[in-house]
């Protein structure tokens, strides 16, 4: 037990050391800092999703909806209401999170395939709204005409608009806060209850745990995290894309989580690194990138269903 614990702390320390020094070492591998920002955003989205999949044992194939709503909420706020980065993030998070909370009410009694299908369909609803409502959302072309605003702390300013390194650390700070919050949540009695539901739902029900309420809460919290990631995505690109709402994005979020390892806390981050690197590499090599991305999906499902972290953990335990 002690050995495993030390193992996990070591992993956390290594991960943070790597994340904090990204601007130093990433250029050496030919990467650029915005790429690291993209990885963190996807990692955060997948981490939020993994609260549901990995730690509650409930799947959703429609998390793009909350990711995309986060992005549009943030973009629309910055464009039409007020130019404030913080409030924009909050607006995006609220839009996606509240939508998820409401959808969750309709979903909680469903399980299995049915649950997945309904989440997919709900995701597409948001896609169609963004797609059709041209005047407000920009329709097919996406939402433009807003930009992140430098942070003003009174005594000093941080120019996250023009300084990409500063913006990376801004994303990293939010990512860190969200990760810490999720770790706390998983250690709390609430988090333990979610694990119990994942392990044996019937047994948990016999113990008197209100299953539906817990799944609903988990779904809702998960949507808030994913919407936060969506807000950051809009800030990263200064653009909100309707494709961010499409079910293909949902599939990507699931894939990132599974690739990294859905039973591991840092799995989604590892998955995001693998996924973004793969997508970037393949789409620069060939126009038939869909074939190779699809092939990766198939191979991961058939041969590496535990993901990279799952395989490492298994090796460490053995």
């Amino acid at each position: 037990m002690n050995g495993i614990l030390r193992h996990r702390y070591a992993a956390t320390v290594i991960i943070w050391a790597l994340l904090l020094t990204v601007p130093v070492w990433l250029p050496l591998f030919g990467g650029y800092t915005a790429l690291a920002g993209r990885i963190l955003v996807f990692a955060l989205a997948a981490m939020g999703f993994n609260l549901l999949l990995g730690f509650t044992g409930v799947m959703s194939f429609g998390h793009a909806a909350y990711f995309g709503l986060g992005a549009y909420g943030c973009g629309l706020f910055l464009k039409y209401v007020m130019a404030s980065t913080w409030l924009g993030i909050l607006a995006g998070m609220l839009l996606g999170g509240v939508a998820g909370t409401l959808f969750g009410l309709l979903l909680v009694r469903r399980r299995g395939v049915y649950f997945a299908m309904v989440t997919i369909a709900f995701g597409q609803v948001c896609f169609y709204i963004a797609y059709k409502w041209d005047d407000f959302t920009g329709g097919y072309d996406g939402l433009r005409g807003f930009a992140r605003v430098p942070l003003d702390f009174g005594a000093f300013k941080i120019d996250i608009l023009n300084n990409s390194t500063a913006f990376y650390f801004f994303i990293l700070a939010i990512f860190g806060a969200a990760a810490a919050l999720q770790a706390l949540l998983l250690r709390s009695p609430f988090g333990r209850t979610l694990l119990a539901i994942r392990e044996n739902e019937r047994r948990a029900r016999f113990l008197g745990i209100p299953i539906e309420r817990h799944i609903w809460l988990s779904f809702s919290i998960s949507c808030f995290f994913t919407a936060l990631a969506g807000s950051l995505y809009a800030l990263l690109n200064n653009f909100a894309d309707p494709l961010g709402l499409n079910y293909i994005m949902s599939g990507n979020i699931v894939m990132i989580t599974v690739m990294g390892g859905m039973r591991a806390f840092w799995g989604p981050l590892v998955g995001a690194v693998l996924f973004v690197a793969l997508q970037d590499y393949v789409s620069s090599m060939t126009t038939n990138w869909m074939f190779f991305v699809g092939l990766t999906f198939v191979l991961v499902v058939l041969f590496f269903p535990r993901g990279l972290m799952g395989m490492l953990q298994r090796k460490a335990d053995a």
């Binding site: 999949l53 799947m59 194939f61 309709l106 009694r109 469903r110 399980r111 299995g112 395939v113 049915y114 997945a116 299908m117 309904v118 997919i120 369909a121 597409q124 609803v125 169609y128 709204i129 059709k132 079910y247 599939g251 699931v254 894939m255 599974v258 038939n288 869909m290 074939f291 991305v293 699809g294 092939l295 990766t296 999906f297 198939v298 991961v300 499902v301 058939l302 269903p305």
Partner: protein, 289 residues
């Protein structure tokens, strides 16, 4: 006005018929194997492209007969190679697998037949209008509806009167018992997947004659098919049939009044059904929930 309504009504019936063909295939696979086949729209595209390649040699009618069979064989092989390995696992894996498979099939179509749209030539006897007054009702449209009716009747007859069909129905209700009675469930699921792919392929040929071919032609039909199944009730094929027609006609009639809301109405119907009758119109309580 009558013309407009009639135009949209026939449109709705035809679109609904496509949803039905797609959704019935998906529904068969969901019921027996618990797999939501994300690649189903790509099987539809494959059916259309096979017809495109076959038409110069055996004509449209030959392609209409052969192309869905080829699609079914491809479906059978893919089930054997890939999909059967995830039946016992968490649903998330079958979703991811078929999702990736859809990417692969779409790019495969693009690789062999090119990214730009292609036309599928249909016999000239089918492209003329039935009467000059109702110019929009071509014989092809009538023909499509007839083919769909024949195919759906054939499917229901297959399920009702053949041994395989009875086993598929029984397996939908209680797979463990069917297996305990000595039925080879693995083989049954493969046949079932092939039947589902056949329906997708058939829809592909019909659609190609009407709207032409492109590598992602099935994508637009996939989501309405999901909704047809949800509205009709997971586990009930009759429900899927009803759901498909209902949303097809509802979307078309909405076009008369408010064109921009045509697609939205599909989702509104789904939300209402989920709120008032969560198991779907004809779904059994407890089925897959």
């Amino acid at each position: 006005m009558l013309q407009v309504v009639l135009f949209n009504l026939t449109n709705g019936l035809i679109v609904g018929a496509f949803y039905v063909l797609m959704a019935l295939g998906l529904s068969l696979i969901i019921n027996l194997s618990n797999v939501v086949n994300f690649a189903h729209g790509n099987f539809l595209a494959l059916g259309g492209y096979f017809a495109f390649t076959l038409t110069p040699y055996i004509g449209f009618w030959g392609a209409l007969l052969i192309s869905p069979v080829v699609t079914a064989v491809v479906g059978y092989v893919i089930e054997q190679l890939l999909i059967r390995h995830v039946y016992a696992r968490n649903h998330i894996y079958s979703l991811l697998l078929t999702f990736g498979l859809g990417f692969i099939l779409q790019d495969t179509c693009r690789y062999f037949w090119g990214p730009s749209p292609l036309p599928l030539s249909i016999p000239s006897s089918l492209s003329t209008p039935v009467t000059p007054d109702l110019f929009f009702i071509t014989w092809y449209r009538v023909f499509m509806v007839v083919v769909v009716i024949v195919a759906v009747s054939g499917l229901f007859a297959l399920l009702r009167y053949t041994r395989v069909g009875m086993r598929i129905r029984a397996g939908t209700l209680d797979l463990d018992t069917v297996s305990a009675l000595g039925v080879n469930v693995a083989a049954l699921r493969s046949y079932n997947f092939a039947v589902g792919s056949y329906l997708a392929g058939l829809a592909g040929v019909l659609a190609a004659g009407q709207i032409g071919l492109n590598p992602n032609m099935g994508d637009d039909l996939l989501m309405p098919s999901f909704i047809a199944i949800i509205v009709g009730g997971v586990g009930s094929l009759t429900g899927t049939l009803l759901g498909g027609l209902l949303i097809g006609v509802a979307a078309a009639l909405t076009t008369v009044v408010l064109p921009s809301a045509a697609e939205a109405v599909i989702y509104v119907i789904m939300a209402i059904v989920l709120l008032l009758r969560p198991r779907g119109l004809l779904g059994e309580e407890g089925m897959l929930s």
